[in-house]
Amino acid sequence: MTDFASRLVSAVLATGRRLSGLVCVLLGISFITFTMTYFAPGDKAAAIAHARYPDAQGFPPEILDGIRQEFYLNEPFFVQFFQWLWRFVQGDFGNSFASNVPVLEIFLANITETLALTASSLAIGLVAAFCLSAISVWKPGSLADRFAVALASIGAAMPNYWLGLLLILLFAVELNWLPSYGTGTPAHIVLPALTLAFWIMASQTRLLRTFFLEAKSAPYIETLRLRGVSEREIFWRHIQRHAAVPALTMIGLDVASLLEGTIIVELTFARGGIGSLLAGAVLSRDYPLILFLVMFFALVYVLINSLIELFQDALDPRKSLELLSNTDVGDEVRS
């Protein structure tokens, strides 16, 4: 019973430490995000006025002063920061400068396209990576293995906007099989998804191959082999499970980078989605939208990282002991 109590206390302490670290990081993220837009050139009051009264030509100073009062634009930096943060935490993300529509509405209208692209490319990429790495560890050093490694190296060095252009050139211009730009039909998603999937395939093949090889050289695998368990069963039942934990960790991190990759791919293929939304917002200096989107990307990253840690703790009993001495958020996850 005392053992259970002390365990409980240590678990609570560790969780508390994690949570306090998480809060610090979230504060840091919002501070950096706010600072990025705070020092931008241009009169924000005039931009807000333009969003509210799109037809007006000039604005009397009273209106601008009123807006400055309302948005605390005359206050010092830290007052402005906490005012923004307080509104943000309450779910008041403000209206877009460009269209005066709530930022959240614009975001929700665009996120589905990005999610569809992310999900489909992740699915294609992971299946390809799994097949390639399974073939490659079957006989390490064979021709198939070398091919897989070479493909992974090329994929890691491939600029994805160039791959996108090459795919357009081949499938849309030369063969005329698929549409090149824009959104609409399901066929429009094929080329962008393939572009991102190639990158996922490359990074995951490399990692999976290493994890499989590590699992394959574990002593208990040799024991199983000596006991006469078939190679097929060893691979499907043992090596796979052994490699699952590190693989899931890396897939989680890739999802975070995948969202980043959608920016370039969405712009290359002139698709809708939050990537092209961010680029548009940046070019038109739509600060509420920029702040929201940057916060979104950062929060997704932190969330995924925290989930990976929880997941690792749950799966690996050794980790719960280490927790007591570990003070960092996600130190070993992304090195």
């Binding site: 840091g28 950096i32 600029p159 090459l166 211009v173 990253y301």
Partner: protein, 292 residues
């Protein structure tokens, strides 16, 4: 442990180190040779090319690759091969500069976190974690866009988001090292902490730093050309590879050579640097002993 086995152990370690030293020598010679050859080719290109990178030739617009223009000409009749050479200076050189500054900043932050007490450690690492949460491209697009698209702003943005990996690596390694005997000894001898850092810590983490640095160098080339391709980086008429791809995109159907060659240049360069990094990592991993 007996004295004899102890001796043989040190001998083995010495032998390993010698072997490793030989490998490293050979590797560095190969790298040096490779760099000299590619540098010589690039220099010869600058010397022999009869064209200027930004000189238009309206009679020869969009001409396909020929013996006069090896990689063809672009929409203004500029020689693509010449522009690729000059573009390499932008892409590879800027990436070199950005990662160098990032590596120095990150190393300083990491060393400070590892050596100036718990408070400094927690503060600095929380800061690093916060910066880490921003995907490189998101932060770079935002900063470069909000400040206005230009080369200088892109460089600033990439430096801001490029130092955290180095900070984490250096902090981890130097904390590991801090418990070694030779560090304790140095502390007992009242060596000032900057001297310990400079003479005992830094030389021992140098190799790992170099591996990470090669890695981020190639990533940085991809980021620079990606940002330029999106219009947030190097601006035309400067011949940067990503910017060349952007202007070539419009002529995808009539003159595909405009987008094939710059992309190929990026791919080959990044691949080369990555392979170099892989080899370097294998060498560092094979080193088992720490030089004191």
């Amino acid at each position: 442990m007996t004295v004899a086995s102890d001796l043989s152990l040190t001998e083995e370690a010495n032998l390993k180190q010698k072997q490793h030293g030989k490998n490293l020598d050979r590797f560095l010679k190969n790298i040096g040779l490779g760099l000299v050859i590619s540098g010589a080719i690039a220099a010869a290109g600058f010397f022999f090319t009869p064209y200027a990178p930004n000189a238009p030739d309206f009679l020869n617009r969009l001409s396909p690759p020929s013996s006069e223009h090896w990689f063809g000409t672009d929409q203004l009749g500029r020689d693509v091969a010449t522009r690729l050479l000059y573009g390499g200076v932008w892409s590879v050189g800027l990436a070199f500069l950005i990662t160098l500054i990032g590596a120095i900043t990150g190393t300083l932050v990491g060393l400070a976190a590892g050596h100036f007490g718990r408070f400094a450690d927690i503060t600095l690492m929380r800061m690093t974690d916060s910066f880490f949460a921003f995907p490189e491209l998101v932060a770079a697009v935002t900063i470069a866009g909000v400040l206005g698209p230009s080369t200088a702003n892109m460089v600033l943005a990439l430096i801001l988001v490029g130092w955290m990996k180095f900070a984490r690596l250096v902090r981890g390694l130097s904390i590991d090292l801090a418990h070694r005997d030779f560090i304790t000894q140095a502390k007992l001898n009242d060596l000032p902490s900057w001297l310990i850092l400079w003479r005992h810590i830094l030389p021992n983490i140098g190799a790992s730093l170099l591996v990470l640095w090669t890695n981020s160098w190639s990533r940085s080339i991809l980021s620079i050309s990606g940002l330029s391709f999106l219009g947030f980086g190097v601006q035309p008429p400067n011949a940067e590879w990503g910017a060349m791809l952007l202007s070539g995109k419009a002529y995808l159907q009539t003159a595909p050579h405009l987008m094939i060659f710059p992309g190929l240049a990026i791919l080959v360069t990044v691949l080369t640097i990555n392979l170099m990094g892989d080899q370097l990592r294998d060498l560092v991993d094979s080193r088992s002993t720490i030089s004191e």
